[in-house]
Symmetry: C2
């Protein structure tokens, strides 16, 4: 087991041990926000037949050469084309067919004139424009041709992709599985929500915040409850989580007397890869894996609410993104200007919870106040985590630093852009 | 009814008619990504009692004045403090108490020394540091004080907020309701997924893409199916959607012969506010409301797949965001540099589907190819919509324009920042 790693060494070890999950087949509405696990090849042309892009009249362009508002050309309305129906009739010279948007272009015609460019006179029309051939005609296969590769594996499925799959007649699609994340809290001071909070006991709130972090990523949390400070209870609960893809425990990974976690994990066949990362908050984070390769990735996160949220963010989240099939694993980074002085001793990278504010082309970062690892409130106020590098000791007002943006509404606009 | 509006006039009329939905009470895991509808006032202190931030020993700082590695001070370990238990014992002068992270500080002690700074010798410890009073003590109420306002209405609930609510003992919370959006497709050329696509018939894919757009926003789609080109069928289906918050119909809002939508809506008591917005794609979009104020907002979107997605994006999405209680209603905007020449006639604002690429500090925008309103494929390739203003006719390579960013992974990073 390694110890005292840098954040980047720790993350590398984790991602090297992380495999993309297998595929599963889901109905297309359930594929939204999932990652495609197959190549989608079109099995039909879209549109399936030449059709009208406008409400108007199907015509023969040659009949209308020279037509204008001053010299309109008269055509006989021979028939009407209904959408979605077989068209038997063939358009002859001097004829037009009434046609609506989406209806198939009848044989014999090669163009559509918009109804705004026509005056109707009972069974005849007066056409005031000379259309080009194929004008207002959507050609067969114009959008997608049968046999064409339309979507590639690894694509994140959004509304347009869902619509495309439906248009191609795909009711189900193969996507990457959602990671199942077993979550355990540990410690005799913890109670479930609604439990007795006398004698300094506190709600096991990490179960809730970690589960929410999972769901935000599309992962599925599985609650293993609260383990007592007792190796047997811990082992029983860990066993219940061995079928998950990831097992996250918040507590019991310190060097304290109640550190039962390591021996219990080892008994179950899990090898600890590292313990202790040179970051603050969150130093006592650990990571383990099963030598057999069929057990979950195991993360031991500190019990402090902020440390738990933050180490999940840095180490568990990228692994879950990779499992889910995403190529880009990390939060947005912005270069921000410090609005205040920050100091620390060298040796550990600090994640400073900051509020971000746009000031012209600059982004200002300001600490949310106390940076104690107990101060959950500071996390509710933070829109980002400023990276104060391990060997730096001073960031002065006006200095710049990278900030991981947690709150993506930071990018949203109060203007539509028009 | 107004017609030929600018995009911004249309959006203003819609947002003026849009009301924030009422509150509902949900369990806190279900509150994730919802908007808080109440003020959260702390009903307890967090932490609830002074407790240890470290594994180590509770001490009296005065006993250790002058302690150092060279001159360690010896204390007797009088008792152990268990987490979550009542502590009856009181620390006397010359004594220490074994304590673990999170356990309450016993009476008589005022500081904690880390176990790394101590050598244990059976029932005694040798302390090599002189702690400050209150060192490694997390004070009662340090994070949150009872009576304090912790979260304000309008806040978007993320994992830290969920954790905070749990820590405060809140099992349920009041949030803004999710909008229910009734979705109707119309046209005889449309079939349900799996239906017969002969004679130019196509799958009603807009139902799928519009529903996905709703779900991405946290709104709840309600499928009204496919209306035939028949006023009675249309009326029956519209009636089924009158209890929704929003009714979206894609089709039948053109000026064509099959425009049954307007009379049917009027019969149901809906007044059309506008029809026709000077944009491309998407001109024939309409918006209606019920004079009584208790019916849904009604959007008639064009039937073309791209026009439907795009007019939802511009007009329905901001309304749903407002209903849901969000303050910031619009997509991120980036200023992009054109990689190619774009031309159009004046008169309508064009939304050009573009791919975005970062090149140093610049963002390059390149058209995804055909901009036909039928070309759903172009939407699957687009990471943004470039705004080509109504009265402009030329954008040359190197010119810059605003782009609405549809694909928020554009902001994500391939590096963690450390």
């Amino acid at each position: 087991m390694r110890t005292d790693l840098t954040a980047s060494e720790a993350q590398r070890l984790i991602l090297d041990a992380t495999r993309v999950l297998g595929p599963e087949t889901v109905a297309i509405p359930a594929a939204l926000s999932r990652v495609l696990a197959e190549t989608i090849v079109a099995t039909r042309d879209l549109p399936p037949a030449p059709n009208s892009a406008m409400d108007g009249y199907a015509v023969r362009a040659a009949d209308l050469a020279g037509a204008s508002a001053e010299r309109p050309v008269r055509l006989r309305v021979a028939f009407e084309v209904a959408a979605g129906a077989h068209v038997a009739a063939v358009l002859a010279a001097g004829e037009a067919a009434r046609i609506l948007t989406g209806a198939p272009i009848p044989s014999g015609s090669d163009s559509v004139v918009r109804q705004e460019d026509v005056a109707r006179d009972r069974e005849q029309i007066l056409v005031r424009v000379a259309p080009l051939p194929r004008q207002h005609v959507r050609e067969r296969g114009e959008d997608v041709r049968c046999g064409e590769r339309v979507l590639e594996p690894g694509v994140s499925i959004g509304p347009a992709e869902v619509g495309m799959l439906a248009a191609l007649g795909r009711g189900v699609v193969s996507v990457r599985q959602r990671p199942r994340v077993a979550i355990l809290s540990g410690g005799d001071e913890l109670v479930e929500l609604g439990g007795d909070v006398g004698n300094g006991r506190i709600v096991a709130s990490n179960s809730y915040s970690l589960a929410a972090q999972c769901r935000e990523l599309g992962a599925e949390p599985v609650h293993l409850g609260i383990a007592r400070d007792d190796p047997e209870d811990l082992e029983r609960r860990f066993r219940a989580g061995l079928r998950a893809d990831v097992l996250v425990s918040s507590a019991g990974v310190s060097v304290g007397d109640r550190d039962y976690v390591r021996p219990v994990l080892e008994k179950l066949g899990c090898t600890l890869v590292f313990w202790g990362v040179k970051i603050k908050p969150g130093f006592p984070v650990c990571f383990g894996r099963f030598a057999t390769g069929d057990g979950p990735l195991v993360f031991g996160l500190p019990g402090n609410p902020v440390s738990a949220l933050l180490t999940f963010e840095q180490f568990v989240r990228p692994a879950l993104r990779k499992m889910t099939g995403h190529q880009v694993l990390f939060r947005p980074l912005v270069r921000a200007t410090l609005a205040e002085r920050l100091e620390k001793p060298p040796g550990r990278l600090h994640f400073v919870r900051v509020e971000l504010e746009r000031r012209g082309s600059q982004v200002l970062a300001r600490s949310t106040g106390t940076q104690s690892s107990g101060a959950l409130r500071s996390m509710t106020l933070a829109s980002g985590l400023l990276i104060f590098p391990a060997e730096e000791t001073l960031l002065a007002p006006g200095d710049s630093a990278d900030v991981q943006v947690l709150d993506e509404s930071f990018f949203h606009s109060s203007e539509p852009g028009f």
